[in-house]
């Protein structure tokens, strides 16, 4: 699924990375625990989260994630925004809750990752 499709079905506002909407992703992963993101996720994944601190951007950067989607209308703090722009990270905000966001994406064909870690 392309990021522009995700943007459209989630009624999302694109905060950074407007020019990278043609990137394609295979999976979505929803978490507020960054340690779990570091454990289970691979690069062609969008992260759904309600956590708004800079560690979210750092985590996404380490894992080469395609984009971060903030749920429940959350917005990244100023430090996050600065880091995201520095690192070319794509950020979107959706008004939907984590559960609804996940449901919309799943319904549209975007699956979750396998149960086990994919790093190794």
């Amino acid at each position: 699924m392309y990021l522009y499709e995700i943007r459209d079905i989630l009624d999302a506002e694109v905060i950074t990375g407007k020019s990278r909407m043609d990137r394609e992703v295979d999976f979505a992963f929803g978490a507020d625990l960054m340690s779990d993101v570091l454990a289970f996720v691979n690069e062609r994944t969008v992260l759904l989260t309600g956590l708004t601190n800079p560690q979210v951007i750092r985590t996404a950067e380490m894992m080469d994630l395609a984009a971060i989607i903030y749920v429940r209308g959350k917005r990244p703090d100023a430090a996050s925004l600065e880091l995201a722009e520095e690192n070319g990270m794509t950020i979107m905000c959706t008004p939907y809750t984590l559960y609804t966001t996940s449901g919309i994406l799943y319904n549209a064909g975007l699956k979750g990752i396998d149960e086990l870690g994919v790093i190794k």
């Binding site: 340690s35 690069e43 979210v56 894992m63 080469d64 790093i119």
Partner: protein
């Protein structure tokens, strides 16, 4: 990178310096990318370095991260000045954590750090002495 080249990086990491958390890992990752290390290897090294950096910031009195890169491997050494890990077996258990609520609110302290680091490493060693400090050494092989 030619045969003889070896790149060595050294970062000081201060206790509770959350504002700079991730700087050392981010820089390491950029260097690995520039050296043309395959992206899956780079990602594993980035996870090890990032978890190590967060561990030093969250749990220690401060320390350093040393990254040595040659044509065959990436060696990551995370060393701190205490207080040391009382029970390493427990610390290696998934889900075990001594982190504060403040740290958990930032998305860490899930008890996945050391197990994550081990899983991303080809060789992994942890040494700790109470009152003196902890040294974690991770080696990731670079395939030909």
């Amino acid at each position: 990178m030619s045969q003889k080249d070896m790149v060595s990086l050294n970062y000081r990491v201060n206790a509770e310096d959350f504002a700079k958390a991730g700087d050392a890992s981010s820089n390491t990752k950029k260097v690995l990318k520039k050296l043309g290390i395959p992206s899956d290897i780079t990602r594993r090294a980035a996870v090890v370095t990032y978890e190590a950096e967060m561990n030093i910031i969250i749990h220690s009195n401060g320390g350093e991260i040393i990254v040595n890169i040659d044509t065959t491997k990436i060696q990551i050494i995370a060393r701190d000045y205490g207080p040391g890990i009382p029970d390493i077996d427990k610390a290696m258990q998934k889900g075990y954590s001594t982190a504060s609520d403040h740290v958990r609110e930032m998305g860490f302290g899930a008890g996945m750090g050391l197990p994550n680091m081990k899983r991303c490493s080809d060789e992994f060693e942890i040494e700790s002495k109470k009152g003196e400090g902890t040294t974690v050494t991770s080696i990731i092989h670079i395939p030909d």
